[in-house]
Amino acid sequence: MTAVSYGTYALPTRIAVLSMMQTVHSDATLVARLRGGDGAAFEELVRTHMGRMLRVARRFLMNEEDARDAVQDAFVSAFRSIGSFEGTAMLGTWLHRIVVNASLVKLRTRRRHPEEDIEPYLPQFAGDGHQLEPSVPWTEPADTALERVELANMVRAAIDRLPDTYRVVLLLRDIEELLPAEVAGMLGITTNAVKIRLHRARQALRTLLDPQMRGEVK
């Protein structure tokens, strides 16, 4: 066993490193038990990661039944492919990616409703290319707004109002922080389409947040 010294690192860094090492160790133990066919290990995996998996699926699907289905599909998929888990990523990260994929599959298969047009939420321009309605800065700086407890719920609700085509790209790029090429591959679209949809989604979200950021809605 290799001796490792952490003496030169600050205490919070040492705690973070030790915590990560413990996670990697417990992941490795759990994966070994799963591969060995230990039934209790799978239940432990489900219980440990269920909360976070449901949160991700709900964000994509906005429907409890679909979210539960996606989480179930994700855990079953993880169970079947545990042999391919390489241990280079943490188990939670690996499961996170699986539930994002399961949610996207669910989104594609559920009945499609006609989407709301995003154009009304985008800035409008005059014939000479200037903004028809000049933009005015928000009265509440984002830094202050971010301290408000209800802001997170307000932003989440505004994201949920975006048409799916744009909402999913915003979730994958700005929240999951995947690269444009990864998003393009997952959605079967070009990287240019990813860029266009992301830009439109952010602009529409800005429009939806505008009344709250001007204190017009409490």
Binding site: G39, F42, E43, V46, R47, M50, G51, R52, L54, R55, R59, R68, V71, Q72, F75, V76, F79, P123, F125, D128, G129, H130, Q131, P134, S135, V136, P137, W138, P141, A142, A145, L146, L151, A152, N153, M154, V155, R156, I159, L170, D174, I175, K195, L198, H199, R202, Q203, L205, R206, L209, D210, M213
Partner: protein
């Protein structure tokens, strides 16, 4: 550069993907256009608030629905 062109460049500008001459034209437009300067600030704040909202803890606790746990465990045993 018009406002329409400048706003189309926003994402690439924030990601540092504009060519030097495009960046110079974009910044020249911003220096002359209060409206686009305001729009850029709000666009940047929108991205920050999106990330902050996703990272924020939910008001309700992250629950573990027992029936779902049992359904999942049963489905791999089945």
């Amino acid at each position: 550069m018009t406002c329409e062109e400048a706003i189309a460049y926003l994402a690439d500008y924030l990601d540092g993907l504009l060519e030097p001459d495009e960046r110079a034209r974009f910044e020249r437009h911003l220096s002359l256009c209060e409206s686009c300067t305001a729009y850029l600030a709000m666009y940047r704040d929108t991205i920050r608030m999106t990330r902050a909202a996703a990272a924020a803890p939910l008001l309700e606790a992250e629950e573990v629905p027992e029936d779902l746990v049992q359904a999942i465990v049963a489905s791999v045993r089945g």
